[in-house]
Each structure stands twice: as structure tokens, then as C-alpha cells.
């Protein structure tokens, strides 16, 4: 035997400063979207100080409401690793249906329409999960189908809404003239936040999004959670459609169609990983505000409308570059 054993020191565990560095990195990722938002607002305010008036701020928040409601729901689907492309066209369909049904059902049209949309989401979720068709495709088909339903139901025309049934969605309340829509959206967001924080739902969403096989093998209710995400997403879309009717006094088959890409952009800018498994409602709020400020703020800042698209494109890319957490995306697709 001519071997020597040189037992070395066995101690070597986590060391302080480096851990703090990774914690600081996490912190940076959390505050980055907020910094981007603040920088944008500051830049616009420098160009046009009136942007910081109370009335202007309320207007921005009010404008963000439909996007916020849509994004809250769509975020759930993105968290489980899917995508819901049908939200905007569902919102359009909801606007038509609620406008058609208010004369007969009055205020009951609202819950009925939300339920109808939820059923549409259930159908999409079921096809996705049971037939195992990628969500991108199911909801792309859904986008076309719900648009068709909206066109047929409305006869391709705008359905005006008279009366005061939906006034609660678009009015100002209190001494500060707070838009009611902002309060409604805040309440909805609070419900989301509470459910995600105090129930196991978030855990299921995240585990499915980051490792679906592991979630399945751990007995997480994968099927139910995924379908539920689609149902909630669709219900939110329906509600957003109703909110839009409240502010346009009519339902139209293409009313919300253009909101699809802003919704996805808002979720991603907020820092939620488009591949799923990482993100949350707080990030989505910030993302929605960033996109809304970009949508309404550029003209306020006096950007020539010919150049607005170029600015929008550059700033969206720049914002995403700063806010996404690359450590959650080992391979950027």
C-alpha cells in the first residue's frame, strides 16, 4: 500500500457577502420595473409637466383598467407556461353580448356574460388539456371563433347601450374624483393578490410553469389548475369587455381586438417569464402601467405622431431589456 490520505479541511459552507450579492440582484430585479416606470413618467413629465397633475394621473390609471383586468387573467395562463391569445377577442365578444342582453336582463347581464366567457375559457382549457393541443393554437383558433360569434351576434354592427346599467363602471367617486374603474380594478387585483398569497394556488401555478412533470408526479392538481387558469383568464376578459362597454356606451365586435399584444407586452415588461413559472400580480401591475404610459404618454410628451410607433418599439424593447430576469430563462427563445 503506497497511498497517502490527505484529509483536507471539511468545513466550507455558505459565505456571507456573496449571498448578499445574489439577494441584491433579486432586489434589483424586483425594483427594476418600478424604476423603468418612474423613469418613463419622469421623462414625460419633463416634456410636459401637466402630466403629473392629479387629473392626468387619474386618467392614466383609468386608461390602464381594461388592460389591467385582461392582463391579470392572462398572466395566470402565462404562469403555467401557456399563452392565451383569445382574451382580446373574448372581451370584444363580451362587449357585444352585454350590449345585446342589457335591455332584457338589466344588471344581470353582467354576471351572465362573465359566465358565458368563463365557459368559453373552459372549452379552450379543456381542449388544451384533454386533447393536449398547444395553448397557442387552441386560443388562436378561439380568437377567430369568438370574433366570428361577436360578428354574427351583432350583425357586424355596433350595439349602443342606453340607460344607466353600467354607469358604475365609469364614473368618479369621492372628493378626489377617483375613477370608479380604478377602484374596481384595485379590488380585483387585491383579490388576485390575496388568493395568490394565502392559498396554494400560486404554488401550483409556479410548479406547473417551471416543471410540469414534477408537478404531476407530486400530485399537484395540474389539469384542474390549468383549466382554471383558462377559465379565470376568459372571465377576466369578459369583465374587461364589460368595463369597455361602460366607457364607450356600446358593444362592438372588434372593440377590444387591438389590446391583445399590449396585454402580452405588459405581462412580459413587468418581468413575468413568458415561459412560465415566474412572475406575479405585482409585476403585472407595473407592466400594465408601463405599457399604458407608453400608449398615452408619447403624444402627451409631444412626440410627432409619425414617429410614435418608432418610439414605442424602441422603448418597449428597452424596457423589457431592463426588467426581465434572465436567470429564469436559461435559453432565451
Amino acid at each position: 500500500m503506497s497511498v497517502t490520505d490527505k484529509t483536507g479541511a471539511f468545513s466550507r459552507l455558505g459565505d456571507g457577502p456573496r449571498l448578499t450579492q445574489s439577494a441584491r440582484r433579486q432586489l434589483l430585479l424586483t425594483v427594476m420595473p418600478v424604476i423603468v416606470l418612474a423613469a418613463l413618467v419622469a421623462a414625460i413629465a419633463i416634456a410636459n409637466p401637466n402630466f403629473l397633475r392629479a387629473s392626468s394621473i387619474w386618467t392614466v390609471l383609468d386608461s390602464a383598467v381594461p388592460l389591467m383586468i385582461l392582463a391579470s387573467g392572462a398572466m395566470l395562463v402565462i404562469l403555467v407556461g401557456g399563452i392565451d391569445l383569445s382574451v382580446a377577442s373574448l372581451a370584444s365578444m363580451a362587449s357585444v353580448l352585454v350590449a345585446l342582453w342589457i335591455p332584457a336582463l338589466g344588471g344581470w347581464a353582467v354576471p351572465v356574460v362573465i359566465i358565458v366567457c368563463a365557459l368559453a375559457g373552459l372549452l379552450q382549457g379543456a381542449i388544451h388539456v384533454v386533447a393536449q393541443v398547444p395553448s397557442f393554437l387552441v386560443t388562436l383558433g378561439g380568437l377567430a371563433v369568438w370574433s366570428g360569434v361577436a360578428l354574427l351576434a351583432s350583425g357586424a354592427s355596433t350595439i349602443p347601450v342606453s340607460g344607466t346599467t353600467l354607469d358604475w363602471t365609469f364614473t368618479r367617486v369621492g372628493a378626489w374624483n377617483v375613477p370608479s374603474a380604478v377602484l374596481i380594478a384595485a379590488a380585483l387585483v387585491a383579490v388576485f393578490a390575496l388568493v395568490l398569497a394565502f392559498t396554494p394556488v400560486r404554488r401550483w401555478l409556479i410548479s406547473i410553469g417551471s416543471s410540469e412533470p414534477a408537478a404531476l408526479m407530486a400530485g399537484a392538481p395540474v389539469t384542474q389548475t390549468k383549466i382554471a387558469a383558462f377559465v379565470v383568464s376568459a372571465a377576466c376578459a369578459g369583465f374587461a369587455g364589460i368595463m369597455l362597454v361602460g366607457r364607450t356606451f356600446s358593444g362592438a365586435p372588434t372593440l377590444a381586438d387591438s389590446l391583445l399584444l399590449p396585454v402580452v407586452a405588459a405581462i412580459v415588461v413587468g418581468g413575468t417569464a413568458i415561459t412560465g413559472g415566474f412572475g406575479g400580480i405585482g409585476r403585472t401591475i407595473v407592466g400594465v402601467l408601463i405599457i399604458t404610459v407608453l400608449r398615452v404618454g408619447l403624444s402627451v410628451a409631444g412626440v410627432d405622431s409619425s414617429y410614435e410607433q418608432i418610439f414605442y418599439g424602441v422603448l418597449v424593447i428597452a424596457a423589457v431589456a431592463m426588467t426581465i430576469d434572465r436567470s429564469k430563462l436559461p435559453f432565451v427563445k
Binding site: I274, F311, V314, V316, V320, I324, K333
Partner: protein
């Protein structure tokens, strides 16, 4: 000691659960994935041929091929991006800028420039430039392509808006007009352009590193890295190639319409993605290819054409398309279902 050294490698071996055993024959699922879309196309053609007497005429075949040409060119480029597992939403913007550029660079009603076919090349190069930018932003800044290309699309439309400046530049170039309306052997010249691009696409996919590596990266990016493939370079290259095809598509639309318009690519993005996916080029990357996408393009074009011919109400055409697309995918995906299959 002795038994240990004689103790051969343990015969017990773990095998990745669910991994198929070696077989020389492709299994049923692969056949379905490869030939399902083709079958669907044939079925659609038979159906429309039965429902509409005009469908199976030579004139309509020519029309379908001509209509499919722009989408086919786009789909060829998009296929490479999808093979990577990435996505490209910049098609509308790139086509807009290319359309305006070519209209302003060849003989036109707005200025005195007349670079002829150099102008066409320049527009294609501009398209490639957009693709290069998308690729560099995606790989360099590690931004998901979904967002970079979305941003690039807005930038492209913005630049086109600035170039447009109020008056549509109408083409005044007889050679280009000839390309739009001229025919060879009964088919429009643009159809041949599309066929040429498709052939180039197939050659690139089959015989060049770009095609091979795009598939490798889409199949398993980390493994492609381990194999020493310069992943970033080839990803960027794929986006660049795709951008060039969108540029060419913008030029084709401009010659068809006779003037450069910002809306040249409206609706083409979703149409192209739908076509590629319906044809079997999956969004998850690594699967499908140029031929798959082209079958998808033909399915989409035949659907639109057939629905108009049999007189389906324009309101429901979109919905019918949606249902057919989902149904087609459900049917092809049904035999692949497994309890633990992960589908995003």
C-alpha cells in the same frame, strides 16, 4: 478483490422513462405529424371541389398558387425562426418598411430615383437588416424574441410611416409591373419567385449549416452549445434570413399592388404563424421544416379561397377557419396523447 474486478458492469440499467425503444420504422405519431397536414390539404381540396364547380378549374388553381406566393415566401423565412423555438412577430413592420423602400428606390411617382433591380435588392437587404437587429437584440441582450420582434414591428411600421410621408409612391417601373402581371407557362411570375424561394429554403434547410444548426438549436439549445455550435451566430443568422424573406415579400406585395403602402403586411403575421403550425412546424422548435410550412400555407390559402367560392358569409369565414385549424390539430395530436405529456 477478484469478484469486484470480474464483476462486469451491472446489467441493471436505468433507462429514461418513456423513451421509445430503438426502431427502424417511424412510428404512427411521426407519420401522422408528417403526413397529416398533407392529408388535410387533400381532403379540403376534395371537399371544395365537390361543393364548388369553380374550385377545380385551372384558373382557380393558378389563383390559389398566386395568392399563396407571398405567404409562402414569408413562411419559408419564418420556418427557420420557428425551428429555433423562437417566434417572429415583426413581419408586418418589416414588410411595411420594405414595401415603402422598394417603391421609393425604383422608378416611382414620388422621386427621381431609379435603381431598378438594385432597389429590390436594397429592400431585401433592409428586411435582412431588421432581422439582424431582432436577432442581435434577442441573443445579445437575451430578450425573448416575442418582445424584440414585437418592438421591431412597431419600429418598422414607424419607419414606413415616415417614408410614406402622405403620398403613396406608385411604381412607374415597367419591368417591375411585368413581374406582377406577366406569366410563364400559365402561372404568374411571382408564383415562380415563390417556388424559387421555397426551393432555396429547402436547400438551406437540408444542405447548409444554418438549416442544420437551426434544427439542432430548436431541438436542444444547451446540447447544441455543448457541441460547440456558435448558437448566437446561427440564431442571429436565422432571424436575418427570415427578415430577408419578409423584405422580399414586401417587394412582391408592392409589385402586385403597384404602389408602396404601409399596410403591405397587415394580417400576414398571424396567417404565416398559423400556416406554419398547421403544416406541422411546431412553435416549440426543432420540428417540421420548409415543406411542412408550405403545406400549411396551401391549407390556409385553399381555405380562404374555397370559403369565398362556396359563398360562406364573410362574418363566419374567420370562425370557420379557426374551427378547422383547431380541429385539424386536435385530430393529428389525438394519438400522441399520454398521461405525462407536457404541452404548453
Amino acid at each position: 478483490m477478484a469478484p469486484a474486478r470480474l464483476g462486469l458492469a451491472p446489467p441493471e440499467t436505468g433507462r429514461a422513462p418513456g423513451s421509445p425503444r430503438p426502431s427502424r420504422r417511424p412510428d404512427r405519431a411521426t407519420i401522422l405529424a408528417d403526413f397529416g397536414p398533407l392529408g388535410a390539404l387533400v381532403l379540403l381540396c376534395l371537399l371544395f371541389g365537390f361543393l364548388s364547380p369553380q374550385f377545380a378549374t385551372w384558373g382557380n388553381v393558378r389563383n390559389v398558387l398566386d395568392s399563396a406566393s407571398v405567404l409562402a415566401v414569408i413562411a419559408v423565412g419564418l420556418t427557420f425562426v420557428l425551428l429555433l423555438g423562437a417566434i417572429d412577430l415583426s413581419i408586418e413592420g418589416v414588410m411595411a418598411t420594405a414595401a415603402l423602400s422598394v417603391a421609393l428606390l425604383v422608378a416611382n411617382s414620388r422621386n427621381d430615383l431609379d435603381f431598378g433591380f438594385m432597389g429590390v435588392l436594397a429592400a431585401v437587404a433592409i428586411g435582412a437588416g431588421f432581422g439582424l437587429a431582432s436577432g442581435l437584440l434577442s441573443t445579445g441582450l437575451k430578450i425573448p424574441s416575442f418582445m424584440t420582434t414585437l418592438g421591431m414591428s412597431a419600429i418598422g411600421i414607424g419607419i414606413a410611416t415616415v417614408l410614406f410621408g402622405g403620398v403613396q409612391p406608385a411604381l412607374r417601373s415597367p419591368e417591375l409591373a411585368e413581374w406582377a402581371s406577366g406569366q410563364w407557362f400559365g402561372l404568374t411570375r411571382l408564383t415562380y419567385v415563390a417556388v424559387a424561394v421555397v426551393l432555396i429554403g429547402i436547400l438551406v434547410q437540408r444542405y447548409t449549416r444554418l438549416g442544420r444548426y437551426a434544427r439542432a438549436i430548436g431541438g436542444a439549445e444547451e446540447l447544441a452549445l455543448l457541441s460547440g455550435i456558435p448558437v448566437r451566430r446561427y440564431k442571429t443568422l436565422a432571424f436575418t434570413f427570415a427578415g430577408a424573406t419578409y423584405g422580399l415579400a414586401g417587394v412582391m406585395v408592392t409589385t402586385q399592388l403597384g404602389s408602396g403602402i404601409v399596410q403591405a403586411g397587415v394580417g400576414q403575421n398571424f396567417a404565416a404563424i398559423t400556416a406554419a403550425v398547421v403544416g406541422g412546424t411546431l412553435l416549440s422548435g426543432g420540428r417540421g421544416g420548409v415543406l411542412h410550412s408550405i403545406v400549411g400555407v396551401l391549407i390556409v390559402t385553399v381555405l380562404v379561397n374555397g370559403l369565398v367560392l362556396i359563398g360562406v358569409s364573410p362574418y363566419v369565414q374567420g370562425a370557420v377557419q379557426g374551427v378547422i385549424v383547431v380541429a385539424a390539430v386536435v385530430i393529428t395530436a389525438w394519438p400522441l396523447r399520454k398521461r405525462l405529456r407536457v404541452v404548453k
